[in-house]
């Protein structure tokens, strides 16, 4: 990918998304999304519902194949299905789902190390030890390892979801609304924990959030999506108050018709 010479100093890009388009029937979920992120950077995606935020994440993690465009992750184009490379690519990415999507058929520790057990990279006792270690990282007691996910509270399930997402020590962490449905104290705690984990491991983080404050203060970059397109993106420090008001208004679901783009503010989603 050739980087536009005018923008920003050149650092190697870890994720490069170019013109990503995804359609479901006649509905266009993603319409030419561009994104560039260096290793260890963090990005918050905000936008109203049905903006395509979750679809973008599912394309990144390989649940959906792209209709057009490319996703280069660590040098590999992961946008087209590839059964042989799938486990290898997937191990570079950890994803936390909005509803956690923990497997109720398995215990907590089996959930956390499901991929290690099934792909045979660890035997069961190694996997259990690894899972218990990860439980410590997310602030859960060892005793919860043998429980069923349905025995846990919402906050605990979220922690297990995070533990599962980081179990393969992924270079990229995708978080779909990590604090949705949690009380403010707990969501602050979870956000802090994610920041700490990411900093310790040098993980690249992409997070969908509806909280403008969290997006501005905890993430280095911000991407605003609307109707499957990138509406605004850039380092969080460069958002001015007018933008902030506009974005906030948008998140509140402004009923004043389609939001019009402000001239000259869109920057093609290029960071770094």
């Amino acid at each position: 990918m050739t980087q536009p010479a005018s923008t920003a100093p050149i650092t190697p890009s870890f994720i490069t998304v170019d013109g990503l388009t995804k359609q479901f029937g006649t509905t266009v979920a993603l319409d030419g999304v561009d994104l560039r992120l260096a290793k260890g950077e963090t990005l918050a995606i905000i936008g109203p519902s049905a903006a395509g935020k979750s679809v973008l994440m599912k394309c990144l993690v390989g649940i959906y194949g792209a209709d057009r465009g490319s996703i280069i992750l660590d040098g590999d184009d992961v946008s087209k299905p590839n059964a042989d490379k799938r486990p290898e690519w997937a191990s570079k990415i950890g994803m936390l789902f909005q509803q956690n999507a923990l497997f109720d058929s398995l215990t907590v520790w089996e959930n956390i190390c499901f991929r290690q057990i099934e792909l045979g990279t660890m035997n069961r006792s190694q996997a259990k030890a690894h899972a218990i270690d990860l439980l410590g990282h997310v602030g859960l007691a060892e005793e919860s390892a043998t429980l069923s996910p349905s025995d846990l509270s919402g906050g605990m399930q979220k922690r297990v979801g995070i533990a599962r997402a980081i179990s393969s020590d992924p270079a990229l962490l995708l978080l779909d609304n990590p604090t949705a449905g949690l009380d403010p104290v707990l969501s602050n705690h979870i956000e802090l924990m994610i920041t700490k984990i990411a900093e310790q491991r040098g993980t690249t983080v992409i997070s969908i959030t509806n909280d403008m404050q969290i997006a501005r203060h905890r993430y280095q970059n911000l991407m605003m999506m609307h109707n499957g397109k990138v509406y605004w993106s850039g380092p969080t420090g460069t958002i001015d108050d007018a933008h902030n008001d506009h974005l906030t208004q948008m998140l509140k679901g402004s009923s004043h018709g389609p939001i019009t783009m402000r001239a000259g503010k869109r920057d093609d989603g290029v960071y770094a």
Partner: protein, 398 residues
């Protein structure tokens, strides 16, 4: 609606009409009247029946069970002859019902799961074939299907003279299938006992291994050990029993085939008919169970790089079971109850034997009461087992 004259504590002026208007009095009164009517109707029916039976000189009671049955039954799982009593005849019928029901339940579950999954296949041909199978056999009355299979088997297979032999010793004829069986020998009883001992041993070793793994993390090769213990013990029992090798092989003698184990066309028709019919319902139950698991579970497994087949086995099917078990129970009960249609193709099930008994003794009420209680009992047993299984499998909702 408040009625001041009926307010609590007001006992001054209560006439009969006031009492009848009192909600509490009414509630009790209606129940007394309803129960009274039911008892009255029951008493009328019973006394009328007894009176009529007496008029026809028919004795009541279950004494006839000890009398000689004096009819033959074509397939029996226990020793039975025309000289046996009616009780034995009914037990033969019951065992035949249980045999076809249990086999039917096992087979329809296996076939149903396969077709249920196939209906959701991403392969167009597989999906359509499964749909055609389900929609065809689900929508034809099961009685007609029994007639069909019963008509097909004698027509499709040759006379015993020209029996087909697909495998050495296995004969296929218009009179059913013949299998070679080992001649009775003490060694086989011994092997059965050895198998039970092996299962008990495996159960306890498994318990110990799980406990040790939980405590120390040391895994134990349970599968290999289990197979080893089972095969080893059973083989040892075979050797101790003198390693009998004599087989009873089916062969043509005169006009019919003698020896071996005969699977009658009646039994095959009933088993195939019930299995095919019920498997379509099981397939639908399995399909709806799989679809009831949220798509997020597939996506989560996919995001971990897990193949769909593994996700289906480890994540989706176990969760769909909790939705599927109650309707599955219904289908098992239906199969057991539908097995009473076996009488239509002459398979000697409980209803068929009871009918003969009824015709010979005239004890219609008693015979019907027996097979109705037996079906009720079988169904309740099935329900109890499935409820236990459901409690074991069911997980608390998210």
């Amino acid at each position: 609606m408040s009625k001041p004259q009926n307010a609590p504590g007001d006992v001054r002026s209560k006439s009969l009409v006031d009492y009848l208007n009192d909600e509490n009095v009414r509630a009790v009164l209606y129940q007394i009247i309803a129960i009274g009517l039911v008892i009255l109707a029951g008493w009328y029916l019973v006394s009328n029946t007894l009176h009529n039976l007496e008029k026809q000189n028919i004795s009541t009671g279950y004494g006839f069970l000890d009398l000689e049955a004096s009819f033959e039954i074509s397939e029996t799982m226990i020793d039975y002859s025309a000289k046996s009593d009616y009780a034995s005849a009914l037990i033969v019928g019951l065992l035949n019902t249980v045999k076809v029901s249990v086999l039917g339940i096992v087979l329809c579950t296996i076939i149903g799961i396969i077709f249920g999954i196939a209906r959701l296949s991403s392969n167009w041909i597989v999906r359509k074939l499964a749909t055609v199978y389900v929609e065809t056999f689900r929508n034809i009355p099961v009685l007609l299907q029994l007639f069909f299979w019963y008509a097909l088997i004698p027509a499709a297979f040759p006379h015993p003279r020209d029996a087909l032999e697909p495998l050495p010793g296995v004969l296929l004829t218009s009179r059913g299938m013949y299998l070679p069986v080992p001649l009775a020998d003490n060694a086989y009883t011994l092997m059965g006992i050895a198998a039970i001992i092996a299962f008990v041993a495996i159960y306890f070793i498994k318990k110990w291994a799980t406990k040790r793994q939980d405590a120390t993390g040391q895994p134990f090769p349970m599968l290999l050990t289990g197979i080893g213990i089972f095969v080893g013990l059973v083989f040892l029992a075979y050797l101790i029993g003198g390693a009998p090798t004599e087989l009873s092989t089916p062969a043509l003698k005169g006009f019919n085939i003698q020896g071996g184990y005969n699977i009658s066309p009646e039994f095959m028709a009933v088993l195939i008919g019930l299995t095919v019919y019920t498997s379509t319902y099981v397939a639908e139950v399995v399909r709806s169970g799989i679809q009831a698991v949220s798509s997020g579970q597939w996506e989560a497994a996919d995001s971990l790089g897990i193949k769909r087949s593994v996700a289906l086995r480890k994540v989706i099917l176990p969760q769909s079971m909790r939705v599927a078990i109650p309707p599955l129970t219904n289908q098992y009960l239906n199969l057991t109850k539908n097995s009473s249609l076996a009488v239509a193709v002459g398979y000697p099930d409980l209803v068929s034997v009871s009918n003969t008994t009824m015709n010979q003794t005239g004890q219609a009420i008693e015979a019907i009461s027996i097979f109705m209680s037996v079906y009720l009992g079988l169904s309740l047993l099935t329900s109890l087992f499935m409820n236990w299984f459901n409690n074991k499998m069911a997980l608390v909702e998210r």
